[in-house]
Each structure stands twice: as C-alpha cells, then as structure tokens.
Subunit: 341 residues, 2 copies
DNA sequence: AAGTGAATTGAAACCGGTTCCATTATGAAG
DNA sequence: CTTCATAATGGAACCGGTTTCAATTCACTT
C-alpha cells in the first residue's frame, strides 16, 4: 500500500499543498467550500499525515521521555500512572526509558538530550550529577525531576524527612522508646536515591527531639526487599533488649517485618508496633499503619510542570514543589506492652 | 544554542554532507583520513544527528507502541517489563499508550496505525475486533498480540483453560468436591479479556471431567478487586453447604478470599483451601498456592516476535505461541477437613 | 599512452510535512 | 474608476537527515 502524501491529496482536491496543510491544521484562512473539497479528498484517499514529517518541519518532536528505574519498586509505577494520565491528554507521546543498572542510567542521561530531539524529559527518582545537569541545561531540553532534587532544575519531591519524623513521633507519642529502623544500606546507594538518606534523617531527628538516645544496634541496613527485611527484623528480636516498635523504610519492608513477627509469634501491635512508608495499595489490606505519600500526584504534578516549562519556553525561575505526607494510622501500631514506669 | 546540523559539520570538516552522513553510518566508503577529520568536526561542534530527520528520510520511525490497560492489574506491569527489556536492546523507542476506558481503547486502535508512523505495535490483553484487525493488516504496521488472541495476527498467549483445569484438578486430587469459583462478571467484559472466559471454562471442564456436578451457587461473579472478592467469599461461607475449596480467578482475588477466611476465623488450609492464578510476587509472601503464568516471558517473547516480524517484512505465516502454566503448590491448599466417606 | 575499474567524494534529489511569500480575487473606500 | 486592504490560494523554500548518481582521482592493465 503506497503511502498517501499531502501532495496526492492536493492533486485530488485540485488545490495546492499549502491549502491542504491549512485544512489539516484548522487554519481559518481556508474557505468553507475548499475545506470541504479537501476533506473529501482526505477521506477518499484514507489519508493521514505523517507525524515524523510534521515533527521535522515543526521542529518539535511531540515526545517526552520518562526515565526511571520503574520495575524495582512498586511505587514508581504509581508515579508513572500519574505522568501517563497527564501526558495522554496533552498530545505528547510518552517514551519509556527503563533503567535498572547504573551503566544504563549513565548512558540514558548522556545520550537522551543529545541524539533524540525530545520536547521534554522527566527523570524519576534518579538524582543527576552536576555535570549531567549542566549537560541538560545546555541541551535546551526542558527537564523536571520527580522524587529527586537538584537546585538548578524544577523538582517535585516529598518531604521525606518530615514524613519519617511524623512516623517516629507517632511511635513516641504512643509511648515507645525502643524504636528500631529498618532500611537500605546507606553506604551502597548507586542510584543516589535521596529518600534513603532523608527517611533515616527523619528517624534520627525525631529520636533526638524526644531526647531518646540513638542505639546503633537498632539501625538495620540491608538490601531492599521484604525477605531481607524479615531477616533484619529477626535479628532485632534476638537482641537482649529488643525494640518495641519498628519503623520500616517502606511498606514493602514493613511487610517483611510483619511476617517475621508472625513467624516469631510476636503479636502486632500488642507486642510489636510496625509502621511503614508509602501507603501502597496493599498496605490497607494488611491494615498497616504507614506514612502516605502522594505517588500518583507526584507524577501528575511533574508532568504538568514539564508541560508548563515547554510552553513557556522562556527561562522562568525553577520551581521546587514539595508535596506533603500524611500519617495513616491503622492497626499495626499501639502503645508498648510493658508500662513504662 | 542554535542547532548544529550535518551541513555545519560538513563545512567545518571541508567535506560534503554525504561524506558526513557516511561517517555517521559507518559506511566503508570513506577514507580513514577523511573519517578522522569529520569525527573531529563532530566533536568540536558537539554535534548529534536529529533522530527525527533521520527517521523521515529513512522512512522508519524506530518506535514501537505498546498499548495496554497497564495500571488496572499488577500483571501487566510485569509483562511490560519483559517488553521493555527486549526493546531496550533493539534500538527501538517504546511509546506507551495506556488504556483505561473503552473510549480510549477504541481511539487508540483506530488512530495509532494511522497518524503515527510506527514500526510496530504491541497490543496487550486487548482483543481487537475483526474490523480493527483488518485496519491493522491494511496499515502495514506489524502487530503482535500478547495475552489476547486473533486468528489473523501473531499472538502470545497462555493456556488459561489448561491452567485453570490444573488448579481445580489439584483441589480434586486433594479430595475436594465442593469447589467454588470466584471471578469477574462474565457478562460485563468491555475489554473482551479472554482469560476471564477461559479460566472459568477450565474450572467447568475440570469439574465435568471428574463428574462433579456444577453448582451455580458456587460460581461467584463480581467486580475486580480483593475487596469484592472478600465479599463474595463471605457469601460463600454463609451457604448451607459452604465450599471446602475456592479457586480464585487471580492472586489478587485469592488474597481477598484469604482475608475473608481470616475474618470468619476459618483456618486455611485446614478448613478452607484457596488457590489463585498468576503467581505475582507477593503470592510467595502469602504462601499462596497458585498457577504460575510466565508474565515477564510473555512480554519478552511478544517483543521478540514483533522484532522478527519487522525485520522480515515479508508476510510470513502468523505464529501463535502458547506458553505453559505451572502449578505452584504452597500452603493454602490441603485435603478437606471432613473425611469424605 | 590510452583504457579500465575501484575507491572516494560532492551535491542533487528526496522523505512529507509547515511556513512564508507572492499572487489573485473581492469588496469597500475615496 | 482607481486605490487599497483583506481573504484565499498556490507553490517554493525549508526542516535535517539518507541515498543515488555522476565526477574525480589514482593505480594498474595492455
């Protein structure tokens, strides 16, 4: 099936190609009569314009790339959903770049703003280095960071420090003092995830604010995943003075803790309080107390910010949007068993 | 920053644009000396070719669209992961079209093969109608269906009937006869999901093969989601003769059943056996007996099939790949409590 | 020395749109 | 009856690459 081009349509309608183009773009500079004739020709030939050609001549690609380590965490998918919903309405294509290794991360951040002519770039959860940011700025591709921060770029973040502080404060308010933290290895953060650092900071801050001394043995670090969290929780239970409450870096890790508790016949929340972070969908299923962060919204807002950025091609002041977190109290937290006389 | 074009490079290197193009495409028809000079000019100008222009002149868009109702089921994301991994290595861009309403489904299937010049199309879990398939065939855009079937297009599917049969057979082998099925509303299937029909069929087939009469009250239909499954399970428990085993359409629904059992103080598996379908990640966490289907692989195979299709632009016989399922026995199934004398 | 062929090269033509500019038709104003 | 603005239109130029084709160079035959 030979491709029908705008010239075929023009010939068939007996008009010039410019006129056809005007009809396609709803220009007012076409008489109704001519417009009809062109429309008929278009239908008769089953013509549809080539987006690639249109992109070339317009100098815009009508495509936005989203780069993220999508499949490693459930929460990124929810963010992607927010992005997709906003972009779908905008007419821009969403090109997905998944990043699972640091090598690919670097390759993407290097090559994306170069080879591809993108109209915009959304970087999710990956904190670019200064030199990468410079490259992005020079390349003139509007970029927005979601769940990552850099001074020079517009960002959408969540106040992880405050969220974590709230979580721990909730435990303190219930009367807990022996509060452990289960998270990822802070020294092994190749993707430079900021929340890893911030939530730990919130934990420390809350303890300090309540004059509860930090006990290193209550700080567990390990690889990400509920299996590993299970293991870490068990090592906490084995301590001489085990914690009465555990704050987990994420809901996923909290599930590992819950499982470990069940395994060790510790009843939650009477013998052990557990609190997570994220409020992913199944958290409700488990009745997990957690800190909700607006995942969907962070993506949606990021996409909106990017679209604004693209439209107002002028260099406006970079915005840093910080979304709030919210404590969601369910059934895995309660006052500690022993009264604290 | 004015865009650097191939002509700028040519001028700077003192050669023709054709030569620059040849260097870019690793053509052997360039002398080493010239090649070096061009390379230097490219670096000096920080030039990178416009992919859009390249696409236009080559007549290929180097883009593959993936269309699916991604965010309604966990399992689609896993399939997407398989697709992404294969495509990432291929050099094709992955353009994501999410479909959450039937209106958007129709709009996508109509417009995608038209306006956009795609090199390929992957349709996930959406069964196109005959007229849509005709349109696709006429449009010359290679298309592969994953988790959906149509005679005229290459497909990757799972034998849902057999999988369901295996699941129910497993329950029968354990000695169950009062086996209920919890699934979606069969009469309300706007997206035309084939597995909904097939798994129910497998359930019926297995019962029939074992000469166990089908009891309509054991067939629960409702909206998708564990909450609804919870409700349906409770209505089953309230029957005069409640089932001793429940086969759930998916793991997600099975979780709802497990929760309902816990809620009603029914112990699993001694008083109630539960089996799911999919083997999503958390199924292992719950020790759920289920039927594993190769989600990741189905996406990967689909993408591979599509790439083959694109390369061998000739019309080869359409392939229909059927992937096997596998029974994964964990801890939610056991022989029924009452002995069946 | 003229002829052959391979290697290398420059530039025109092309991909399929958009946009700008020149041209014509039309109607109102002077 | 000009004069001029305005609406409508055709088509060239352009976007930035690839590809084709003709031209040039140079070594090697005969």
């Amino acid at each position: 099936m030979a491709t029908v081009t705008i010239r075929d349509v023009a010939k068939r309608a007996g008009v010039g190609i410019g006129t056809v183009s005007r009809v396609l773009n709803d220009s007012p500079l076409v008489s109704d009569e001519t417009r009809q004739r062109v429309q008929q020709a278009i239908e008769a030939l089953d013509y549809s314009p080539s987006s690639v050609a249109r992109r070339l001549s317009r100098g815009r690609s009508m495509a936005i790339a989203v780069i993220a380590p999508f499949f490693v965490r459930r929460s990124y998918i929810e963010r992607l959903r927010g992005i997709e919903n906003v972009l779908a309405a905008s007419g821009y294509d969403l090109i997905l770049y998944n990043v699972e290794t640091i090598a690919r991360r670097d390759a993407c951040l290097q090559s994306l703003p170069r080879g591809e002519r993108l109209d915009g770039l959304l970087v999710l959860s990956l904190a670019p280095t200064d030199s990468e940011v410079n490259r992005l700025l020079r390349s003139d591709v509007p970029t927005v960071l979601v769940d990552a921060f850099h001074e020079a770029l517009p960002t959408i973040t969540v106040d992880d420090v405050a969220g974590a502080r709230t979580a721990v404060q909730h435990l303190i308010d219930l009367g807990h003092e022996r509060i452990a933290y289960i998270g990822e290895n802070l020294d092994d953060n190749p993707f430079n995830f900021q929340p890893m650092i911030d939530r730990y900071r919130g934990y420390r801050d809350a303890l300090a604010a309540a004059d509860i001394p930090f006990r290193p043995q209550y700080h567990c670090q390990g690889k990400y995943g509920w299996r590993e969290a299970h293991r870490m929780a068990q090592s906490l239970f084995a301590l001489d003075e085990p914690p009465t409450a555990i704050f987990a870096y994420s809901d996923t890790l909290a599930f590992g803790v819950l499982e470990a508790a069940q395994h060790s016949a510790l009843s939650v929340p009477s013998q052990l309080s557990v609190i997570g972070f994220d409020d992913v969908e199944i958290a409700q299923y488990f009745q997990l107390t957690t800190v909700r962060q607006p995942l969907y919204e962070s993506g949606a807002r990021g996409a909106e910010l990017l679209l604004e950025q693209i439209d107002s091609d002028a260099g406006r002041p970079v915005q840093h949007v910080v979304l709030p977190t919210e404590l969601v109290v369910r059934r895995t937290t309660a006052p500690p068993a022993e009264s604290l006389l």
